[in-house]
Symmetry: C2
Subunit: 430 residues, 2 copies
C-alpha cells in the first residue's frame, strides 16, 4: 500500500483555502474530489474540485482543456494523478500560484451541483453478504443465501437515465404489487418505499469488447467513488423480481452524490481483503496478492433521516445506522475482473454500484427493510414517530468518510433525496 | 387501423430505383427504413434510407440537417412522418426529383453498416409466453410459468455497450458455471452457447422522469423496430441468475440489425391483441380499445444457421424455425406503458428488446435451448451434423418480414453474427 502513497497524502499539508484545514471538513487538500457545477443562469456544467467550502473551477484555472468529465475519465490514471499533484501543489499553503487560482474559486453555496458526468451503462452489484443474508431471509425464509453467493460477485444491470443528483426530489412511484393473500395484484402507490445505502464506482479507461481485464489491472480502470442511494419499492420488487430480477421497483430513481472521491484520495485507507477461513477461496480470476493485501477500503458509511415532522419541530436529522465498506464480501478489483471476464466492455463513465452496504450486526442494515425487519419492527425515531418504510416528505441522507490515525479525514459530501407524494395516475378511457 | 394508412402504403407505388420493385426485396418504397452507413475510409456515420439494393444518403439529398440519428429520433413522430412522405414522393417512379436524388444513392454493397444509433439504456422484456413456459420448464421443472407472468410484462435491464452491428463476429465467452453434480464451479469457455431471436424497439420521444406514458400515447414514443439476437451462455446463466437475473451470461454481446423499420412502415400489418379467454384481463393501465383492436403486429420471424461445415461444403444456410410477433403476450404499447408507470424516464435511442419470440408449437422455439430441449435432443442439420448448442464458426441469421395480401412485403434485412473461438484466459501471477 505504501507504494500508493505520495506527497499529496501528507497529513501535514495545509491549504491557503482556510476552510480546507478544518478537521471536520469532507474536503481537505488530501481529498480533491471531482464534480460538475454551474452558476445560476449557466446552461453548461463545469468541472470543479472541492476544497473546504469552495470549488476550484478547473477550466478557468487552465488546469484542463474542456469541461467534459467523460473525457477526463477516459484520459486515464496517469493523467489524473498528474492533475492531482498539480492541484495539491497549487492549493497548498504558500503556493506561488495562490493569487492566480484564487480568482477561479467559487463558494459551494453559490452553485448547483449536477451528476458528476453523463453516466454510461450502470451495473449494480450485491457485495454485502450481511445484506444478502438478511434480505434473503425476508424474501426466501427457507433459502436466504443462495449457493452461488460465495463464488459469483452477483450483479445485474440497472437504469442509467433515472439516476439524479443529490438534492433532487423523488416522486413516489406507483405500480403493481400483490400480497400473499391478494387474489389479484393491486395497482397504486407503493406502500413499502425504501432506500439502499451504496457506493458507486466510476470507470475511467475502457477495455475492448472480448478482452477481459485481469484482476491485477482492474483498479487502473477505476476513477473513484461516490455515494449512491438505490431507492426501492419493496412490494413492487417482491411481485416482479422473478425470474429476471428487479426492474420497476428500482428504475424510477437513484440518487448519486456530486463529488467523485478518486482512487488516489482513498489510498491511505486501503485494508486487507479478508474472509472467514471456512469460506471458499475466490476462483483464480478473482484473486491476487495485491487484492489480498489491500483490496478492501475502510470507508465508514451512514444513513441519516430527516422527516417533515422533525423539520417542523426544528429537530436535526437522525442517524439510523453505520456500516463499513471494508465488510464488503467482494472488492472493487474483483467486480471489474468479474464484469469483464466474459469479454463485456466497460467504458469511461460507466457506474458500478456496490449494492447495499450492511454490516454484520442487526443495527447495521443499509436499508429500512433490514432495520425494521420488513416493516414488522418499525424504527422508533426521536420525537416518538416510527418508520417501517419511508413516508412522504422523508429526506434520506447517506454519508461516507474515511478516518485513519496519522491521516487527514476524507469525506464524500452530500447525497440527499426527499420523497414527494405520487401524482394521481391518469387512466386512458378504454 | 385504416387511419394509420396513407398514400405511402399504396401497394401500387413503384420506385425509379428498379431493385425496389422486385417482389422479394426487403426494401420496397413502402418500407423506407433508417440506418447508419459509411463508405470505406470515412470515420463518420451517415444516415441513410434503404431502397431496393441502394441507400439514399439523407444529408447529401438535403432531406435532413445533421447526421445524428439520435436527433432524428428525438424530433418525434410528426417530423418522421413528413420525412417519410417526402422520401416516398421523391423515390416514386416519375418523380421530378429523380435526377437530383440519383446522385445521393450509394449501393448497399459499397458501404459498412453500423448500429443505427448510439444506444441509450437497453431493456429486455420477456413477452413470449411460449418461450417463458418452455424455458421455465428447463430451469424450474416444478414451476415453469411464474404467477406474475400474466399480470406483469416482465422485463430487466441489459447492457448497451456490448450491442454490436450485424456482421461483427462474437468472441466465445468464458466464465463460471456449475453442473448440479459439481462440488465447486468450473471456469472456462461456455459449453452451452445459444442465440435468442428478438425484435428491438427504439424509443423516439422522451417522457420526463416522474411522468408515466399512458397506453394511448405509448406508440407515439416509438420510432421503429429492428432484429435483435440476444446471445446467451446458458450454463453461466443457470449458475448466476438467482436472485437478480441474467448478467455475464448475456452482456458479452448482442447483435442488432442495421435498419430500423418505422412504426409507419408496419402500419398495414397491425392485428388485434388477443389472449385466451381464460387468462386475466390486463390491468387498466395496460389496456385500451386501440390496443385491443390493433396493438399486435404480424411479423414473421425466422432463424437460419450456417455452420463452417455447411460453408465448406457449399451448402446454403438452413432455416431452423419460424414464429410470429403477433403471438407475443404483450404489445409494444403495453411495454412502454408498463416501463414508465413508475415514472421511469425513457429517452430517444433507448432500446426495448421483445424477449425471445417463440411460437406455440414445439418447432417454433426462438433459441436452441428450446429447439434442442436443453441439449437433450440435438437438432439434425442438412449434411448430417447436429447441434445441441452453438459451435465455433456458426453463423446465426435472424430474419423478419411482413406479408399481407393487398400490400407490399416489408422486410428487416440482415442480422448476422458468427461465433469465434475463445481466447485463452491470462491469469495473473498471484
Amino acid at each position: 500500500m505504501s507504494s500508493l502513497l505520495d506527497e499529496t497524502h501528507d497529513p501535514a499539508l495545509t491549504s491557503w483555502v482556510e476552510t480546507a484545514n478544518d478537521p471536520a471538513t469532507d474536503f481537505p487538500i488530501q481529498n480533491l474530489p471531482f464534480g460538475r457545477f454551474r452558476r445560476a443562469g449557466e446552461a453548461q456544467w463545469r468541472i470543479g474540485v472541492a476544497i473546504g467550502d469552495q470549488i476550484l473551477d478547473l477550466q478557468r484555472a487552465k488546469l484542463i482543456e474542456t469541461d467534459d468529465m467523460n473525457a477526463l475519465m477516459r484520459a486515464g490514471t496517469a493523467r489524473r494523478k498528474r492533475l492531482r499533484l498539480a492541484l495539491s501543489q497549487g492549493l497548498r499553503a504558500g503556493s506561488p500560484r495562490q493569487s492566480t487560482l484564487q480568482s477561479s474559486l467559487v463558494p459551494q453555496t453559490a452553485v448547483e451541483m449536477g451528476l458528476p458526468c453523463r453516466i454510461g451503462d450502470y451495473t449494480d452489484f450485491y457485495t454485502s453478504i450481511h445484506h444478502a443474508t438478511t434480505v434473503g431471509k425476508l424474501f426466501r425464509p427457507d433459502n436466504p443465501l443462495l449457493p452461488n453467493y460465495k463464488w459469483v460477485p452477483i450483479g445485474y444491470h440497472g437504469r442509467a437515465s433515472s439516476i439524479v443528483a443529490s438534492g433532487q426530489s423523488i416522486r413516489w412511484p406507483i405500480g403493481q404489487f400483490k400480497a400473499p393473500d391478494d387474489e389479484v395484484p393491486r395497482f397504486g402507490a407503493t406502500q413499502r418505499l425504501d432506500y439502499e445505502l451504496e457506493l458507486g464506482a466510476f470507470i475511467a479507461t475502457a477495455n475492448p469488447q472480448g478482452e477481459p481485464v485481469p484482476i491485477g489491472a482492474a483498479e487502473d480502470h477505476l476513477f473513484g467513488l461516490a455515494l449512491f442511494n438505490d431507492w426501492t419499492a419493496r412490494d413492487i420488487q417482491a411481485w416482479e423480481y422473478q425470474p429476471l430480477g428487479p426492474f420497476l421497483s428500482k428504475n424510477f430513481a437513484s440518487t448519486l452524490s456530486p463529488w467523485i472521491v478518486t482512487m488516489e484520495a482513498l489510498a491511505p485507507f486501503r485494508v486487507p481483503f479478508e474472509r472467514p477461513a471456512s469460506d471458499p477461496e475466490p476462483l483464480p480470476y478473482l484473486e491476487s496478492a495485491t487484492n489480498r493485501a489491500s483490496g478492501a477500503i475502510d470507508i465508514a458509511l451512514e444513513v441519516w433521516l430527516s422527516t417533515a415532522a422533525m423539520r417542523d419541530a426544528g429537530r436535526p436529522a437522525q442517524k439510523l445506522m453505520q456500516s463499513n465498506f471494508r465488510d464488503s464480501y467482494w472488492t472493487l478489483a474483483q467486480l471489474v475482473a468479474h464484469h469483464t471476464v466474459n469479454g463485456c466492455n466497460l467504458q469511461p463513465s460507466d457506474l458500478l454500484g456496490s449494492g447495499t452496504q450492511s454490516g454484520p450486526d442487526a443495527g447495521q442494515g443499509g436499508s429500512l427493510l433490514e432495520l425494521a425487519m420488513g416493516g414488522k419492527q418499525p424504527l422508533r425515531l426521536a420525537g416518538g414517530d416510527t418508520r417501517g418504510f419511508l413516508q412522504d416528505g422523508d429526506t434520506v441522507i447517506p454519508r461516507g468518510y474515511c478516518n485513519r490515525p496519522g491521516f487527514r479525514r476524507v469525506g464524500f459530501g452530500d447525497c440527499t433525496g426527499t420523497v414527494v407524494a405520487a401524482r394521481e395516475f391518469q387512466h386512458e378511457a378504454a
